[in-house]
């Protein structure tokens, strides 16, 4: 497969990125890409650097080496190709702003000026609210919404300006399993309907297995990226972790089991154990 065979350039190219906070090396020579229209999971345990990586992509974190390209062009502050849903947003319960208003800000928050919103802009806002199933609380104060409802509003806000790539920082943490499924299904549907690529960070990959096209697995400041079949294997992950891990598939779910004390060389012949 040659490079010329690909029709569109990757939406995101991270190339040799390293980040350090003082003497601590958080990310070391990290490279991966996100292709157009794909759902990519950024998987790794807490504190491993996923949020840092997302912030690098957003241009909020400086890097000591490497480059980040969005749609083939280097990052610029005014790049409107990215949408972002952070992990936690403190929404003051007393601020008089409706869900609808917050989504509308996604269209024109960067603009100075006197203009009022046009009819087509308001329609677009309505469209996004419907897409995330938020019409029932569109006119409620954002501070009074539940965590899950707020999250949907933030997703609509990020999508309303038609970005090419949507970044979400740990959207599934702190959700019960039912809600996790709902959010994943929603994101998958919205991504397909609106042609948006998704890069979503999580510390647990099982909920994403049905929808994930590609995985970027983070550990020890490094990544392994590719399809789940390519990456979620004992040999690949053992090398990443630096010690032996077993990848076990059980009833369609994947478990990465670590056995501390064994070295990476003791890797079994088969990349994955089937237990059924």
């Amino acid at each position: 497969m040659s490079i010329g065979a690909r029709e569109t350039p990757p939406v995101l190219e991270v190339d040799g990125v390293s980040v350090s906070f003082g003497p601590r090396n958080i990310l070391n020579n990290v490279s991966f890409e996100v292709r157009a229209g794909e759902f990519t999971g950024l998987i790794g345990s807490n504190g491993v650097g996923k949020t840092t990586l997302l912030r690098v992509i957003l241009g909020l974190q400086s890097i000591s080496s490497g480059s980040v390209r969005v749609l083939g062009a280097p990052l610029s502050r005014r790049s409107r190709a990215l949408g972002y849903v952070p992990q936690k947003v403190l929404l003051d319960p007393d601020v008089p702003m409706r869900a609808r208003d917050l989504v509308a800000l996604g269209l024109d928050a960067h603009k100075f000026g006197f203009s009022r919103r046009s009819a087509s802009e308001r329609e677009r806002v309505e469209e996004m609210l419907v897409a995330v199933d938020a019409e029932s609380f569109a006119d409620s104060r954002i501070g009074s919404l539940s965590g899950g409802e707020q999250q949907r509003v933030l997703i609509a806000h990020a999508l309303v300006s038609n970005p090419k790539l949507l970044l979400l920082d740990e959207p599934l943490a702190n959700l019960d399993p039912g809600s996790v499924q709902e959010v994943v299904a929603l994101l998958h549907r919205v991504a397909k309907d609106h042609g948006v690529s998704i890069l979503l960070s999580a510390h647990e990959m099982n909920a994403l297995l049905p929808v994930m096209d590609r995985i970027v697995y983070v550990s020890n400041g490094q990544v392994a990226s590719g399809t789940t079949d390519e990456v979620v294997r004992s040999d690949v992950l053992s090398k990443l972790y630096g010690h032996h891990v077993d990848v076990i598939q059980l009833h369609g779910r994947v478990f990465v089991v670590a056995e501390p004390g064994t070295s990476a060389e003791d890797v079994p012949e088969h990349p994955r154990y089937q237990v059924d």
Binding site: P86, L105, A109, S161
Partner: protein, 302 residues
């Protein structure tokens, strides 16, 4: 009626100037105040008033108009705060607290010099607590012009400002120039503080900045509605305050009347308390009762 509206109120020239000045200052304070409260920057607003005090008392000493002293001091304070760095919330309180202290010390010096060197009386009272009845007519056009500019700038910036106030990270990702917006807002805040110092004194101007704004935000449904309501409340507070102060000269023939700023502050406070009561009642009316029947159904068949 006679008690409320003492003779000569509307025919009195200083009163008419005061009414106009009060309305203009209340309006610009309300517009800036709504965003100040949303951004939880009340303390910064208060800190600026103390720097404005230093400016005002210095201007008095130099013989320059108080308005320019207030504006200059306020702007200098805003600049200093930006330089010292107002990133982490705790640091912000400390840093602004330090600026406050030095500025207050300088005010003490200037006011001392005002009374001893310049042998004027009433400097402390005028600078700190205002003297809306003795503002010269030539100052009013400047106040109106600056107020208009601030209101216009705030209107132009309203969307980036709103999003930044909610989450600077999201704003950044949307291409908003967070730092620029922050600096421009501080500019508006500084000018608004300077302007209201002329009307009700530098130390008390916080009331007009935050009172009507906080009250309106508790009651209104949107930021725009809150702004309009705040402007209304501010103007009413100012006008009733002026009226009562004028009347107070007549209540007790031997006294000198009570200061305008006292009345304005008290009215702002009363409005805020009132809105708290409204909010408390609203919350108690809308508590949902638990729906028990749903659980009964779902537990059984599924």
């Amino acid at each position: 009626m006679h008690v409320l509206l003492e003779p000569g109120f509307f025919s009195n020239a200083p009163v008419r100037t005061a009414l106009l000045l009060g309305a203009v200052v209340a309006a610009v304070s309300a517009v800036v105040g709504v965003i100040t409260v949303v951004r939880s920057q009340s303390f910064a607003g208060h800190a600026l008033t103390d720097v404005a005090t230093a400016g005002g008392s210095g201007a008095y000493y130099l013989g320059v108009g108080a308005l320019w002293g207030f504006l200059g001091g306020s702007l200098a304070g805003a600049g200093a705060m930006e330089l010292i760095g107002v990133q982490r919330v705790r640091r912000r309180d400390l840093a602004t607290g330090i600026v406050l202290g030095a500025a207050t010390g300088i005010s003490a010096l200037f006011l001392y010099l005002d009374t001893t060197v310049k042998a004027t009386t009433g400097a402390t009272q005028q600078i700190l607590f205002g003297s809306i009845f003795s503002v010269s007519n030539s100052t009013v056009p400047y106040v109106a012009a600056f107020s208009g500019l601030v209101i216009m700038l705030m209107t132009i910036m309203r969307r980036p400002l709103l999003l930044t106030s909610l989450s600077s990270e999201i704003a950044s990702s949307q291409g908003v120039r967070v730092r620029l917006v922050g600096v421009l807002f501080m500019l508006c805040l500084a000018v608004s503080v300077g302007l209201s110092s002329i009307a009700i004194g530098s130390i008390l101007s916080t009331a007009l900045l935050i009172g009507p704004a906080a009250t309106a935000l508790r009651v209104a449904r949107s930021i725009a509605a809150a702004t309009l309501l705040a402007i209304g409340l501010g103007i009413i507070s100012a006008w009733i305050g002026i009226l009562l102060a004028y009347d107070s000269f007549y209540w007790d023939p031997s006294s000198q009347g009570l200061p305008v700023s006292f009345f304005i502050v008290a009215i702002c406070f009363v409005f805020y308390l009132f809105s708290s009561l409204v909010l408390a009642r609203r919350r108690s009316h809308t508590t949902r009762r638990p729906v028990v029947t749903d659980f009964a159904f779902s537990a059984e068949g599924h």
